[in-house]
């Protein structure tokens, strides 16, 4: 369903050339939970960003539903990000001036059309699912770190996408909160969501269907 073929990415910054990805291949099947591990600087984040269309690779293909997304127009990329692909980052990136519920609804505030009733109901359901029922009106500053991350996950869930990309979603959380996030991901996988998760935690990584190990910009 999602297939990366021979992805190359090199960064040039301030005269330093970094070969971040040196020909990475990966196939993610529908409903599969894949975790990516590796040393710091091995290219995990870069790869996840390329997979989720947030970063254009230098060469290589990313096939989704049989089409190469690297050749998509800006409009089609926006569509893909709106619906099919969801990303959860290590940091929550909640907008500080919107309430938790509004943050969850952010994907639906793209245009001038008002957010639908249906979306609002779904947002409440997602908040409940991440264990934040009744906290929707709080602003991010009044939530704990774990709660903030769960709002961010709810924001990814509300779109009912097919693939969830997560870059160290438990990185900023304590063991217990991290555990609850992992349980949530396992739950979502059981609902049929494909998940690609980058983590430093071997134990969490082991809960995935498959563990990919990266080193020096390549899968080993």
């Amino acid at each position: 369903m999602l297939e990366a073929k021979n992805i190359l990415k090199t960064f040039h910054s301030e005269g330093v050339v970094t070969h971040a990805l040196t020909g990475v291949d990966l196939t993610v099947n529908p409903g599969e939970f894949v975790s990516i591990v590796g040393r710091s600087g091995s290219g995990k984040t870069t790869f996840l960003n390329v997979l989720s269309t947030l970063l254009a690779p230098d060469s290589g293909e990313i096939l989704y539903g049989g089409e190469d997304v690297t050749s998509f127009s800006a409009a089609r990329l926006n569509q893909l990000r709106q619906k099919d692909f969801s990303v959860v980052f290590q940091f929550h990136y909640l907008l500080p001036y919107l309430s938790a519920r509004e943050n969850v609804l952010l994907p639906y505030m793209r245009g001038l059309a008002p957010v639908s009733k249906d979306a609002k109901l779904r947002a409440d359901a997602c908040l409940e699912r991440v264990g934040l029922a009744g906290k929707g009106s709080k602003i991010p500053g009044h939530l704990s770190g774990g709660e903030q991350q769960r709002v961010a996950i709810a924001r990814a869930l509300v779109k009912e996408s097919t693939v969830l990309f997560a870059d160290e979603p438990t990185g900023n959380l304590d063991r217990e909160t991290g555990e609850s996030v992992m349980e949530l991901l396992a739950d979502l996988k059981n609902d049929g969501l494909s998940i690609v998760m980058v983590t430093h935690d071997d134990e969490y990584a082991a809960r995935a269907d498959r563990v990919i190990r990266m080193a020096d910009g390549a899968v080993v």
Partner: protein, 387 residues
């Protein structure tokens, strides 16, 4: 809830910043609005006062000069085709041209020579009402004539002929009474005797005949050439002469003030624009991660661009409305201080306010274009890792 919720909430959350920006921008608009209102009122009255310095257009009969010489011996100039003007015709035509609103006064003149006690003196027939308006600088020892046989004598002529107020004399065989002596004006007016037009026409010429007509036009806002052109078309058989130097000087003083105010307004507006631009730019840098996140959720570039433009629009609407009201109130105060509150036509105008708001919104949004464009061109992954 839609995309506009984002800029609205951000503006509300950062209300101190918004308020500061609004205050500065509004003050700018206030000064621009009041400067322009005050200058237009002051300019108008200045224009009125400037007409007090006399005519700026002359209407004369057409004449051709022929130099006569015989065998190399010059016999002087001969004026051909000098005819007088018909007073009623000229008055009618002048007051019916397209730019008639710009004409302040039309003063006809009949010039004649008369003997007083063996001395020759120039007599000028005038219409008192017109002449008083045209020569607002005139001051009399005595008063303007109220009877047809009253005359006003220039200061030099009075000294030469030994005349004073109340004296009787004969002009062209008709008895007249001196009702006033002009204070020295430094012009030709000092050496002549002014008589009522009807008296002059009856004594020295034929009824309805005049020699030339002086016209005072208000010309700060309109080109004098147009008035001259229109007069020429209305009166094809006459010669219209614009006293350019006077006109230019008048226009210069009024235009100078207007230009100065325009320049100051532009500078103020420019500073306000820079403020909005800089604030927006820092806002974009501060919110770069938010932008990256929204892009990762499928927000289009146009959408991001719109968010920042809308924030500038909110500021613009606020600054435009507050600034206009403030400027209007300030103008009234300033005019009161300048003692011009009575002769102003300044009244609150909703259309002006809407126009001001629209203009300020446009300027504000324009100032936010670069920051907004910068925000919209950020790549999502770069935005998210940036510090």
């Amino acid at each position: 809830m839609n995309i506009l919720t984002i800029p609205l909430r951000n503006t509300r959350k950062k209300w101190v910043k918004t308020l500061l920006l609004l205050v500065v921008f509004s003050l700018g608009v206030t000064s621009i609005v009041s400067l322009n209102y005050v200058s237009s009122v002051v300019g108008e009255s200045l224009e009125k006062k400037l007409t007090a310095f006399g005519a700026n257009i002359l209407v004369m009969p057409k004449s051709e000069k022929l130099t006569v010489s015989y065998g190399g011996f010059s016999m002087g100039d001969m004026l051909l085709g000098v005819t007088d003007l018909s007073e009623s015709e000229v008055m009618n035509k002048v007051t019916s041209i397209e730019l008639k609103d710009r004409i302040a006064v039309v003063a006809p003149k009949l010039v004649a020579m008369a003997q007083v006690d063996g001395a020759t003196v120039g007599v000028v027939g005038v219409r008192w009402e017109k002449e008083k308006t045209l020569k607002g600088y005139w001051a009399l020892n005595g008063e303007y004539p109220t009877t047809p046989d009253g005359v006003v004598v220039g200061s030099k002529a009075a000294a030469r002929l030994n005349l004073k107020q109340g004296d009787s004399l004969e002009l062209g065989g008709a008895p007249v009474t001196v009702s006033g002596i002009l204070f020295p004006t430094g012009s030709d007016d000092d050496s002549v005797i002014f008589a009522g037009m009807d008296f002059a026409q009856a004594t020295f010429g034929t009824p309805d005949r005049v020699n030339f007509v002086e016209v005072a036009a208000l010309c700060a806002g309109c080109p004098i050439e147009d008035i001259v052109h229109q007069l020429q078309e209305a009166l094809p058989d006459t010669e219209i002469q614009a006293l350019q130097s006077i006109v230019k000087q008048r226009m210069y003083s009024v235009n100078f003030v207007k230009q100065l105010i325009l320049t100051v307004s532009i500078i103020i507006l420019f500073i306000a624009c820079c403020m909005v631009g800089v604030t927006m730019l820092s806002s974009v840098n501060e919110r770069i991660k938010e932008i990256g996140l929204m892009r990762s959720l499928g927000f289009s570039r146009k959408g991001i661009f719109g968010i920042f433009c809308f924030e500038a629009m909110i500021i613009g609407i606020g600054a435009g409305a507050i600034g206009y009201l403030g400027g209007f109130a300030l103008s009234l105060e300033v005019l009161k201080i300048l003692d011009m509150a009575e002769d102003t036509t300044l009244s609150f105008n909703g259309g002006d306010m809407a126009l001001t708001c629209l203009f300020i919104v446009g300027v504000s949004v324009l100032s936010a274009f670069f920051p907004a464009w910068k925000a919209s061109s950020i790549e999502p992954s770069e935005a998210l890792i940036s510090l």
